[in-house]
Homo-oligomer: 464 residues x 2
């Protein structure tokens, strides 16, 4: 079925036609009002510098500021304007967007830009920048509506309208008490629908959820998602409202956090994008690889101890990769499941024990099924293609099967317990677990496999 | 530093104390009004059935509906109430939450519940359920405000207040034209701040972004994130407004999509959670493992071809795991980077070629560094601990180094090109790439390593 999508290209062409037309400034301004800033930002990327500057002039600084928050390489467009104009644009952004924009220019330009800004904008930006990037305060915006608790409905509505000129996030109105501490929140819908004679107090949720600015993002992100609110207040330790986390902020944080976890599971120290240089990419990957190389050499020295087994029955080497890969695979599966489960803050000790026990059973059951499969397949393969006796063939495939079952069971256990351990000692399990699990599983698999082979094939059956 | 967090337990205890107190119904109702529904939902899980039912009676069906959308095991609580009452609760939910709740009960109960619902609620639910789970229509809510385009500001505000009783998502107001087609959107802020004499038309963004209900989530999720709006309209092919995607919906979708990709990268067919049975978990993992076992056997048979090399120099087997693991690791790194980059819809052919070229260079450079490291370490290890001559030791470590460089370069290439291929033929690259890449990389690594060993050690240096 053909789906009629919104033609991105059509919108883009319309926009470029409007911007480059000979219409009057006012006409252009009015037409552009109908389009989304994200679309205009994309059009901007398709214009020349002269056309862009003409456009900025037509639509005015506030609209330019909004559009600039949607640009992919905002740094480039800011530099094109010079520090004074650029500072004006950043000043008009929400403080969190301003912080993001400042991150896109070099440090010299950044200092210049901050100098040109009003005291108020500077303070907001410095507040957000004062938090570490893994603290929720670094993600908040200072764009919110705050009113006193002793207003009437009509006064509250009037104050809202005044503040709405400057602040976009109006769907929740925050209320402070007489000593400027956070008191509660009002749903805009309730305020709009309220009759004039109702007490404002009756609309305020005084036990509204909040987060502390210094809380780790990891610690509060699940809570932020659970409340499913348009905005959640961020307080300092003295209960003063500093900013809010909007649902757009949550989208960004979820996206970033998951992206990071995902990257870490794949053995990258951080997420990469298309525009990074070779050196940047190498920096993100090499630490992992060096660690894995060192651990891999340790595994190799253990394999080296079985040199005599290998030299007597060279055929068994063929199946080493099979057993190591399978152990690695089930270990990674358990790791991924455990990392996701550990995100839940409400997890009890009992849940953890249950998870470990379940993973062991899953590992054993899957190992058992795959063990039987490989006992048959490997045996038939050796018998038919390698021309050995059935006893010889099924002795070797028996070793493979036993090693698979043992290695997969232990790998599942290791893949669950190691991330739990790192989580307990407050080290990010997604980063630390990977190499350790790989190594432990390799060791378990190698020792099981060659151990069983040595015991069964050489000592018991004497198949040399 | 100690961070003063919001004590979840305190809130929970307060709530339980209020609910189980002897206060009058009205007092309890008023007190509970101050708390977030998510917190009340958690309290609910800590009450007995009798207390719960008493609470439902006190707070009324609308509040109960809201609270139920925050329950983890909503199915259990619905079943406790019997179909008629449960249907009433679901009816009052947003249609998307109602669909989620219905998914939590068994199919018999589900059919009963749907029977008891009003025609309107039934239609909304059936509309959302009519979309496939990977279509964006399945994620929308029918809870939105829609007005005609020829109203005055005052009339628009009045219509908004009327509809707001039923619909929570008021921050964007949708406008339809005379033939009931989607016409544009108004930011609530603009409506609230507008003077009475302004034309409504001037507030309407007529080129507001939208998605089509049948669009694949994968295809539009990046766009939805980019627009960073509180809600984006969902249209059918005749331009009629069917529902909206709120930023909460986007949070859920992003979370789900990333979770799925993450699970797939780890070799699970879908994300798992704590409450799944052994059988469900096995079903998600076994297909992958069986596929990997089959491919692993193929690799084993290739290793088997080098039996004669192995039997002559058993020591080289020790480093097989090292090379296979490292090839696997860089392949996974490239895979993860490529999958994330492919999410960008605006990717050009040139970007793709650049990515492949970059990955090859990263793979080669990292391989070169690790190759030199292992040439030295492995050589010294064999010389000192295995008591071989320096020439013998560094011949073997030379093989390891060459194989590492070649295998890591090719693995980076394979790890980039395979997901691109699957993306091109519209198969989810995260699902399909894993096993194929593992196998190809294992084969490359094995053939390179034993090939070099056979050529260099046995044929040239004759080190048997």
């Amino acid at each position: 079925m053909h789906i009629k999508k919104r033609k991105k290209e059509t919108v883009l062409q319309e926009l470029i036609a409007i911007i480059t037309s000979n219409a009057s400034d006012q006409e252009i301004r009015e037409k552009l009002d109908d389009y989304h800033e994200n679309d205009i930002a994309e059009a901007l990327e398709n214009l020349g510098e002269v056309e862009r500057k003409r456009l900025y002039h037509i639509i005015g600084i506030e609209k330019v500021s909004e559009i600039f928050t949607f640009l992919d390489d905002v740094g480039m467009y800011l530099e094109e304007l010079g520090p004074q104009k650029a500072a004006g644009i950043i000043e008009n952004m929400d403080a969190d967007d301003a912080v993001d924009a400042l991150d896109e220019v070099d440090s010299v330009m950044r200092d210049q830009l901050i100098q040109y800004m009003t005291k108020e904008a500077k303070e907001d930006i410095e507040l957000i920048r004062s938090y570490d990037e893994n603290e929720i305060g670094s993600q908040m915006t200072t764009n919110y509506i705050e009113i006193g608790r002793d207003l009437s409905i009509r006064q509250a509505m009037k104050t809202l309208i005044e503040q709405a000129e400057e602040n976009d996030n109006i769907s929740t109105i925050y209320v402070k008490d007489d000593s400027d501490k956070f008191y509660g929140a009002i749903d805009l819908k309730d305020l709009i629908c309220a009759r004039d004679y109702v007490e404002l107090e009756s609309l305020i949720s005084t036990s509204y959820p909040y987060v502390r600015a210094h809380e780790k993002i990891d610690d509060c992100i699940e809570r932020l998602k659970d409340y499913a609110e348009d905005s959640i207040p961020v307080l300092d330790d003295a209960d003063t409202l500093l900013g809010v986390i909007t649902s757009q902020n949550i989208v960004e944080v979820v996206d970033d956090e998951m992206g990071e976890d995902y990257a870490k599971l794949a053995g990258l120290t951080a997420e990469e994008d298309l525009n990074e240089t070779l050196l940047e990419s190498m920096k993100k990957r090499l630490p992992w690889l060096v660690a894995l190389l060192a651990l891999g050499m340790f595994v190799s020295s253990v394999v080296g101890m079985f040199e005599s087994v290998v030299s007597q029955i060279a055929l068994i080497v063929s199946f080493q990769s099979l057993i190591l890969d399978m152990a690695g695979n089930v270990g990674t599966q358990s790791l991924a499941v455990t990392i996701r489960v550990l995100m839940d803050e409400r997890l009890t000790m009992k849940d953890k024990v249950e998870l470990v026990w379940k993973e062991i059973r899953v590992g054993f059951t899957n190992g058992f099924i795959l063990g039987i499969l490989s006992f048959l397949c490997v045996g038939v393969y050796i018998y038919l293609l390698k021309g050995k006796t059935p006893i010889y063939a099924f002795s070797i495939s028996g070793c493979v099967a036993v090693a698979l079952i043992v290695a997969m069971t232990i790998s599942s256990f290791v893949g669950t317990i190691i991330p739990m351990f790192f989580h307990k000692i407050k080290i990010d399990p997604a980063v630390a677990s990977g190499p350790l699990i790989t190594t432990v599983n390799d060791l378990v698999a190698v020792i099981t496999y060659y151990g069983v082979a040595w015991l069964l094939l050489i000592n018991v059956l004497q198949l040399t």
